[in-house]
């Protein structure tokens, strides 16, 4: 079989993963020295049935959530999976965060085997089976104990809502009473997949009325984020961030800034200029008072200008001799296109985008005399934060304790632990606990943006109009090279984050080639919600419409034909067309459609747009989205995640843009980085197709169809193809002129 994504790139084996983890990124602490941290989460009064769950004598069931809560609802959905198999009374369940310890709390996702990470929509798929097994195992322990106590065969016992029941005698005992005498065996009982419930017997999973456990704390101000932490004796810090890696600060007015009341330190550091003082207002005043000249002679990004660089990107996109890395190959696309009766070619662009998570980056760090380091932070990857802090402070990860807080938005920004590292460095310098809080301006200056990308697409049609060859070349900086260097080295330079979506696994095309060209410009490119699929589907799904137009077929019909071998892909496209009333004409408006798979989940979207020709502003009136993410744990939250992703993607598609000059990001706050506000939000209509397939992820699935569906709608309305993200008013005006 020649159809491959290159398995070894995706299924980075556990050993390979560990071995390649010598560098900073994804170097998870696997020494086992972190084991035991979980215990503090448990009440002394009760029984810890396994690493995941403790039942108190009062019946409280405490379940640990291995992922970080950044708005996606894992603090509810993951414990719910365990509670299902345990047959726990959900009203008695308390959800708490597990410590960072991949040996115990690592997941089972094929992309990140054994890792404890909150990214790439993997939480539910990673933990669906482990948490079910853990729940079933805990239930077994309870049943065995009761069988012994009541002297009945264990097979005669059943459970319901935190009770063990013996039907024959009508006896019942609450879980709280069982743990009063229960003994937890040293070797926990084994659970086979056959011991698990059949999905039709689920009582908690899939129930729309079960609400998120964190919501009440988020309507009365009691929810605690990293920014809310205060520890005794702490001082405050703000860091004027380096505009690019390698830039060196020359502080022009250090003495003046030191004189600001409440300021104790002004410290130049590799990551910027820190001001430390006894109040947040003093450090903010000092930060804005700083006058710094940057010596960028050693900074790799210094020559980079995102506008000027486009010419070079475009050249590399066209030149057949540009060195490329193969991402996905079926047959021989070059040959098929060369021999085709008709060929098509198109290019696309996307600009850098910024996460704009509402909580600016922050962390509290305390470095104790005995070498213990405490970090309070909202992070997407606890073990990574511990490992990088340990590395920078020249100690071992077991000395670093992460006190995980809620995240005021993540979207990929809180993977890289720059804030904890900076706070820890400052705490070790000033010998006091430090609360570091970035200004919004510094949060943007220190952006870890989605890369700027350029796409060249080619297609070949045979004499009958059949699509026989497809080629997609992306030219961009590689996110894996920056965010996951060990993996990047292990895969021989494939960008798993940045190229996600070029693989076209669900379109039946006899010859496909997807390839990447690496740019190295020194930008700190990182994962942004939806990763590669965000810009890649904009390019490829726009191109599908162009092919359909060239063939004179309906874009919906074209996609149904392309997915004819994949029932689930086909079904979401059909569903969304029906929801939107695809064939119904709307005066002054047009519909555009797009399909996207994302980590084995499926989505199809339709946008209804109009365009103000004078201003170039695109108005999206309606957005319909049909998805199949496999089995859904919490339908109401899943719907909310789809709405959220659609709005995030609309914002990115229509207005978000970081421009870079001399290696530095030009934007500074929400005044010049425009994120979507309420007045621009369309009517959103979502549908989740019922599926019993294993869950494959939800949090980003709403992202990739949005930009191409809008572009396709605009093309059908105006006859003009938009080839550049964001599709801002200025660009639209230019395209229509």
């Amino acid at each position: 079989m020649n159809k491959h994504i290159n398995k070894s790139t995706l299924d980075v084996s556990r050993r390979g993963f560990v071995k390649s983890a010598a560098g900073l990124t994804f170097s998870f602490a696997l020494s086992g020295t972190l084991i035991g941290r979980a215990s503090e989460a448990f009440a002394a009064d009760g029984a810890k049935l396994n690493a995941w769950v403790t039942i108190g004598t009062d019946g409280t069931v405490t379940i640990l959530c291995p992922s970080s809560e950044m708005g996606q609802g894992v603090l509810t959905s993951l414990p719910l999976i365990l509670a299902e198999e345990l047959d726990a009374d959900w009203s008695k369940v308390k959800c708490e965060f597990a410590p960072g310890n991949p040996k115990v709390y690592g997941g089972e996702h094929k992309m990140f085997p054994g890792a404890q990470v909150t990214l790439a929509s993997v939480s539910v798929p990673s933990y669906y089976m482990p948490l079910r097994r853990a729940g079933a195992q805990a239930r077994k322990v309870l049943l065995d104990n009761v069988a012994e106590q009541w002297k009945v065969p264990v097979v005669e016992l059943s459970t319901d809502k935190s009770f063990v029941i013996h039907k024959k005698t009508g006896k019942r005992m609450s879980y709280g009473d069982v743990v009063k005498f229960a003994k937890v065996p040293a070797e926990l009982p084994k659970v086979a997949d056959g011991d698990l419930k059949a999905p039709k017997d689920f009582k908690l999973i899939g129930r729309r009325e079960i609400k998120r456990v964190d919501v009440p704390s988020k309507v009365n101000g009691t929810a605690k984020y990293g920014i809310d932490v205060q520890v005794p004796g702490m001082v405050y810090a703000s860091v004027l961030q380096t505009p690019m890696d390698g830039a060196k600060a020359e502080i022009v007015n250090a003495d003046e800034v030191k004189k600001i009341k409440g300021i104790t330190h002004v410290i130049p550091l590799p990551f910027g200029v820190a001001v430390v003082g006894d109040s947040v207002e003093a450090t903010r005043t000092a930060r804005y008072a700083l006058n710094v000249k940057w010596d960028t002679s050693a900074a790799k990004a210094a020559p980079f200008d995102s506008e000027k660089a486009k010419e070079e990107y475009a050249k590399k996109g066209q030149d057949p001799n540009t060195p490329t890395k193969e991402w996905y190959v079926v047959g021989d696309a070059d040959k098929a296109i060369a021999g085709a009766a008709k060929t098509l070619e198109a290019t696309f662009w996307s600009e850098h985008t910024y996460h704009a998570q509402m909580e600016p980056m922050n962390a509290v760090a305390q470095v104790s005399e005995d070498g213990q380091i405490d970090i309070w932070v909202g992070t997407q990857v606890q073990p990574l934060a511990a490992a990088v802090v340990a590395n920078v402070l020249k100690t071992t990860p077991d000395k670093v304790k992460i006190h995980l807080q809620l995240l005021g938005g993540g979207f990929g920004r809180r993977i890289w632990p720059d804030a904890p590292v900076q706070a820890a460095v400052l705490a070790s310098i000033v010998k006091k606990p430090v609360k570091l809080l970035l200004t919004r301006e510094d949060d943007i200056a220190a952006a870890r943006p989605r890369p700027m990308t350029h796409h060249v697409l080619k297609a070949g049609l045979d004499a009958k109009g059949n699509l026989v060859g497809w080629k997609h070349r992306i030219v961009a900086e590689n996110v894996d090279a920056v965010a996951a260097p060990p993996r990047f080295a292990a895969t021989g330079g494939k960008d798993i984050i940045g190229w996600r979506g070029m693989e076209q696994e669900y379109y039946t095309i006899p010859n496909i080639r997807a390839e990447g060209v690496r740019e190295e410009r020194g930008m700190r490119v990182h994962a942004w919600r939806g990763i590669g699929a965000g810009y890649i589907k904009f390019a490829s799904e726009s191109f599908v419409d162009e092919i359909a137009q060239a063939r004179g077929v309906d874009p919906l019909a074209m996609r149904l034909e392309l997915t004819k071998d994949h029932a689930r892909a086909n079904a979401v496209i059909k569903a969304v067309a029906e929801m939107a009333g695809w064939s119904r004409k709307r005066p002054g408006r047009a519909l555009g459609i797009a399909f996207a798979d994302y980590h084995d989940s499926f989505s199809a979207g339709v946008a209804e747009v109009s365009v103000d020709k004078a201003t170039g502003k695109i108005k999206v009136h309606n957005y319909w989205l049909a998805v199949d993410p496999g089995l859904v744990i919490q339908p109401e939250n899943a719907t909310a995640q789809l709405e959220s992703a659609i709005i995030y993607a609309l914002s990115g598609a229509l207005s978000e843009e970081l421009t870079v000059k001399g290696g530095a990001v030009q934007q500074s706050n929400f005044s010049d980085y425009h994120v979507m506000r309420m007045s621009d939000v369309p009517e959103i209509h979502t549908k989740i197709l019922v599926s019993t397939a294993s869950p494959t992820g939800m949090g980003e699935l709403g992202i990739p169809t949005v930009a191409p569906a809008i572009g396709n709608a605009v093309a059908r309305l105006t006859g003009k193809r938009l080839r550049h993200l964001p599709m801002s008013s200025e660009r639209v005006k230019k395209a229509l002129a």
Partner: protein, 152 residues
């Protein structure tokens, strides 16, 4: 430094700060009422919204000198039992995701409902447009305000 007295969530309070200090930092760091959030520091996002004598203001843009002698209400003081109609509606509609912007959203919405009993969709959007929610909970915010205005 000056001693500035005011009422916060019905409690008389005073702090010693520079008169130009933004109310936001006094509320969050001095008084430890951390429900009010910092998002931009420039009046662009609404995360820091509180009530000053019943009017929604951006606390990052309100100097302590302006707060002197005034009545301040934060999310913690909106209802002693978290049972303001908006809070109940926010739970019913499952509005918050990361939740970070929501104190500001609720305080902004509370001002609207104190002025207009049953606002139209247009009135809601116009009133709420200065509050960013990066998690895109906007459709649910609209529904929750409508629900609160009906069930209020």
């Amino acid at each position: 430094m000056a001693t500035i007295a005011f009422t916060i969530n019905n409690k008389a309070t005073s702090v010693d700060v520079e008169p130009g200090t933004p109310l936001l930092w006094v509320v969050r760091e001095h008084l430890k009422l951390t429900g009010t959030k910092f998002g931009c520091g420039s009046g662009l996002c609404g995360a820091c919204t509180v009530h000053l004598n019943g009017k929604a203001v951006r606390s990052c843009q309100t100097q302590m000198s302006e707060a002197a002698g005034k009545r301040i209400t934060t999310i913690e003081g909106l209802s002693p039992t978290s049972s303001h109609p908006l809070q109940k509606a926010w739970i019913a509609e499952q509005v918050p995701q990361c939740g970070y912007c929501q104190s500001g959203q609720i305080m902004q919405a509370a001002e609207l409902l104190s002025k207009v009993k049953t606002p139209s969709r247009e009135q809601i959007v116009a009133h709420m447009d200065g509050n960013i929610c990066r998690c895109g909970t906007y459709p649910r915010i609209v529904r929750a305000i409508q629900r609160a205005s009906q069930e209020g």
